[in-house]
Structures are given as C-alpha cells and as structure tokens.
C-alpha cells in the first residue's frame, strides 16, 4: 500500500505547509530553483576550496620528486591526499548540501521536513525492484559514457584520477568508501534533488519534474561525457520517487548503483579482460541482455506501484495561488 504515510495533502495545507514562502503564496517552483542554485553555489564552492586546501596541505609530504612528469605528480598528489579528499566530499555533502537545503525547506515550506521530502516506509518489494531496475540499466549507461570517452581519447593518467580516489586497497578502506561514495550521496543527493527540488517542482509541473530534475542531476555532476548516462539515472531515480511518493526506493537504488561501482573496482578491477578503471568498452552483448531486463523490471515496478494520485485540491490551490 503506497498512500499509507502522511503526505503533503493529508491535512489542510494551512497547518502542514506553514513556512514563510507558503504563507505568502509564492510559487513553489521559484523556491525549488532558488534552493537549487543557492545551495549549489555554496556546495561547489565549499568543496572546491576545501579540496584545494587539502591537496596543497598534503602536497609537501606526498611529492618528493618534482622533476617527475606532471601527470605522475598529479596522480601521486591525489593518491596521498585521497583520504582527506574523500572526507571533504562526505563533509560537504552533509554540511553544504543537505543541511542548508533542509533548513530552507523548514523555513519556507514546512516545519515537518521529513514528511515534506517524503521520508516514509514502503513495502520491501518496491525498494528491491527499484534497486534491481537500476542495476540492470548500469551496463547501458556505462556503454554510453565509455563510448563518448573513447571518442575523445583522454590521456590515461586523467582516467586514473577517479580510479585513485574511488578504489579501496583494504577492507577498512572499502567500508570507508561505502560510507563516502554509496551511503552519503544516496542520502544527501536524494533528499536534495528528489525530496526537495523535484518535490517542489512537482507541485507546479507534475510528471515533467521527473525529466527536468533528472537532467539537472546530470548537469550538477559536471561530467560532460557522463551527462547522458547520469541524466538517465537521475530520471530513473526521479521516477521511483514520483511513482512511490517515497524517497526510499531512489535512495536504495542510488546507493546500490554507487556501491556496485566501488565493489567491482575493489574486488574485480578487471572483469573478463576489461579494465574497469579505464574507459575500456564493455561488450555490446551485455547491454543487449541487461537493457531489456531493465525495461521489464521498470514495467513491473510500474505495475506493482499504485497509480499516481492527483494532487489534492488544497495543494493545487497552494501551488497555483496568485501572489497577494
């Protein structure tokens, strides 16, 4: 049963949507864009500044041979400062993405933020289906991103940067990476993109918010070659959120997607002769087998979840209220 938890329309909006933005009858869409941009600026700048500080702080200890080629120095510096950089990634996700956005929702929309962002339980099957669907689409997404990367042919050392940062060399390091790469983005990014931005845009544009926020999710990763695959992934997460009216399926799917990537890099850096740390292309046959499975799982997900309920009248009134 999907609609068991309290949702936006379960009470009079006068008591639930009690934030300053709501009381003034302003557009929820404008709030979504403002939060997206303001928090985005804060997050990217904080991460860049702290990241630069970490790299500079660890450079003297890490780099002895300044006569080595720049590429080797770069990889070496990143290897030495990998742990601080990972800590900064996690820290900035919580402190500069989640916390400011959460506080803005609390002030502007509702004091009951967890209900606003739809943090509510779901039947286990729905979450499992969301995870399986996402995993089935991974080969297709990887294929697209690798093909683009292969076309532009970046130098090998540039490709190694991600591998250096996100490959564990021991079990404790793997657990630490699970926290940084799988758990943290699943919580922070899902609450931010789906729970807050898509949630607010959904009130003014309905299902189209899934497409828009999926694309924005792709753009926010600042990886031009991964834009297509990341946007598709974002739309998939958005669809789970929209359809289930809960954050759990998209959180679980996001965590599973990232977890699989770091687990494979740790346990099987080469899979059937393919170097997973580079843009070695995966066989098309993998895509041709997994993509139809993904589509079948998506259709099943659609069937087992309830039809999307229209926004309750009181919420429609809030969303389209004229400015006083």
């Amino acid at each position: 049963m999907n609609g068991s938890g309290p949702d936006i329309g379960s009470g009079a909006h006068g008591t639930f949507l009690n934030g300053t933005w709501e009381r003034a009858g302003r557009s929820p869409g404008a709030a979504a864009i403002v939060i997206l941009l303001a928090v985005g600026i804060l997050y990217f700048n904080a991460q860049s500044i702290l990241g630069a500080v970490a790299v500079l702080a660890f450079k003297p200890a890490g780099v002895g041979d300044l006569t080595a080629p720049f590429s080797e120095q770069m990889v070496d510096v990143l290897r030495k400062s990998a742990d601080p950089l990972r800590a900064i990634v996690a820290f900035t996700q919580y402190m500069f993405l989640l916390v400011p956005a959460w506080l803005l929702v609390r002030r502007w929309h509702s004091r009951n933020v967890s209900t606003y962002v739809r943090l509510r339980r779901l039947p286990f099957l729905e979450t499992v289906l969301a995870v399986l669907t996402t995993l089935a689409f991974i080969p297709a997404g990887t294929f697209i991103a690798n093909e683009l990367t292969r076309q532009i042919n970046p130098p090998e050392w540039l490709e190694q940067i991600n591998a250096v940062l996100f490959t564990a060399r021991s079990d404790p390091e793997f657990l630490w990476l699970v926290f940084v790469v799988a758990f943290t983005p699943a919580v922070c990014e899902e609450i931010f993109f789906r729970g807050i931005v898509q949630r607010s845009l959904e009130r003014v544009m309905g299902w189209k918010s899934v497409i828009l926020v999926g694309f924005i999710f792709g753009l926010f990763h600042m990886q031009p070659l991964g834009l297509v695959s990341l946007s598709i992934l974002g739309m998939l997460f958005g669809y789970f959120f929209f359809r289930s009216r809960s954050l759990l399926p998209s959180m679980a799917a996001h965590a599973a997607n990232n977890l699989l990537a770091i687990a494979l890099m740790y346990q099987m850096p080469t899979l059937e002769g393919i170097d997973l740390s580079s843009s070695d292309q995966i066989p098309l046959s993998w895509v041709l087998i997994s993509a139809p499975i993904g589509i079948a799982l998506l259709l099943t997900y659609h069937k087992v979840t309830e039809p999307i309920q229209q926004l309750p009248d009181d919420l429609k009134a809030v969303a389209s209220a004229p400015t006083p």
């Binding site: 300053t20 403002v34 590429s71």
Partner: protein, 329 residues
Amino acid sequence: MAFPLVPMKLSDLFDRTFRLLGRTVGRSAIIALILLAPTALLFSFSLGSFFDSLVGLAQGPYDLEPPDMNQLGGMFGALALMGFTGVLFGIAQLGAYLGITYLGCAEFSGQSVTWEEALRKGVGLPLLRAIGVSLLMGLAFVALLILPYLLIIGGAVAKSSALGGIGILLMVGALGVVLFLAMRWNFTYQTIVFEESPVMNSFRRSWDLVEGNWWRVFGIMILFGLMVDFAISLLLTPLTFIVLWDFFSEYFKLLGDISSGESDPGAFLQVFKSMGPGLGFLIAADAILTTLIAPLYSVALYFDLRARRGEFNQATGHAETPAAPAPLA
C-alpha cells in the same frame, strides 16, 4: 495580471523574477534571437578568422626573418573585423537587454506588450540613449582608474615600490568608487526604456532610486548575479564540450604526448586552431542566456525601489501615478 506594486522582501524578489521569466520567456527569446543570432554568427566567424590568421602566421617558414607584410596585414585585418563585429554584438546585446527590460516592466505593471513593440523599444531612440549612457559610464570609470593604473605601471618601470604602493592603494580606492557608482547608476536603462528619460536624467533618476538602499541593491545584485552565472555555467559545461569537441580531442592528444615525453610545438598550434568559431558560439550562447534573465531581476528590483520611495499607493498596491511616469524634462 499586474504584480502588486509594494516594497518586496528578498523572497518576493525571487518569486516575482521567476514568475516574470515564466511570463516573458517566449517573447524574450524571440527578441534575443532576432538581435543576437546574426551578430553572434558574424562575431564567431571573425573570431575563427582571427585564430586562423594567428596560426597561419606562427606556422610560416620565417625562421629568424621578419614575417611577411601580407600575412601581418591579414592578421590585423582579422583583428579589426573581430573588433568591429564585437562592438556590433555588444550593441545588439544592449538592444536585447532594453527590449526585454521593457517587456518585463510592462508585464510587472499589468500591461501586456507584444515582442514587436518591445523590440522597437530596444532598437529605437532608447538604444541610442543607452549607448550614450554606456559610453559616459565607461568614460567615468576609466577616468577614475587611469591614474592609479599609470602609477602602478610607472612604479614597475621605475622600480619604485613607493610609487607602485601608492598606485595600488589608489586603485583599491578607485575600484570602491567605481563599485559605488555602478550601483547608483544601475537603473539607468530601466528609466530610459520605461520612463523615457533622456541620458542625463536617467543618471539622476537611478541615483535617486538607489538613495538609502545602496547595500540592499549591492547585495541583491551580487546574489542574483552569482545564481544566474552558476545556472549558465551548468548549462554551458556540456555545451562547451560539444562545441569544442575538436579542441578537446587535440588538447587531450597533446596532454597524452607530453606525458609520454613526446611534445610537438606544432600540436599546440593545432589545439589553438581547433578552437575556431566554437569560442564565439559559446560567448554568444552565454550572452543570450544572460540577456534572457538579467534584465528581469533588475526590473523586479526597480519596482521594489520605486515602491519604497512611495511612488505607488501603498494601501492598494497600485500605481498612484502611472507605473510609467511622464518623461522627465
């Protein structure tokens, strides 16, 4: 429907700006495309020619001989063409800004105007006045900055740290004054296009509007500017990769060659050449996106300042005098 003409909070300014954007984006896009697309194309083409002539000059078999005058002439010709098309593009951008500003002002005060009417405002007398305002503002800023700049250069040439230090101190002060004036004159274009103010009156009117609200205007302009720049950079990052695909291919090839110890100076020129007109296209895309949004938050702020000065009936939220006052003498 008109927006209430009352003083606004920051959240109201955000809300009004996005609503205004939603209401005007179609008409604004037409104005921006009509004025900016042809001039941007010319600018991109001339930028490509300039890069080509530079690379041609660098690849010439001159050794230590002075370059051929024909080649040099070609390069300076391309530079002049680039300058001319750049100015043309700048004027078109100003015209689009004025047209969209008029559209926003009219919409804000409850009048719905067509894109043709707004376009006429962007290319008619208001454009000439706006060019006059821009030139005067530019001259004022240059006049303020030129002395400290010369002192810094003089200090460097004469190896005098005292002279250079004075120059730097004066430069900091001059930049502060420039910033102060830029905020006080921030609404000259709105008054030109919506109140039909002549050049000198637009300076006076904008100065009066900002009176007592300088910090507010400064903070809001910085905040909106940052947000718009961030949004545009998000959109342009993938576009940059698509438009400059050849450039990045060459660049990555060069990086790969350098890291493997093979560096060919000719490869650098190839990287440079492959930028081609792509760079011009990106500059144009940036300008078009900025022009669609930037005038609108200035419009919202302009009406907020007018409401704060009591120019509208506070009780009803409507204009006590017409929203567009009679032109000042």
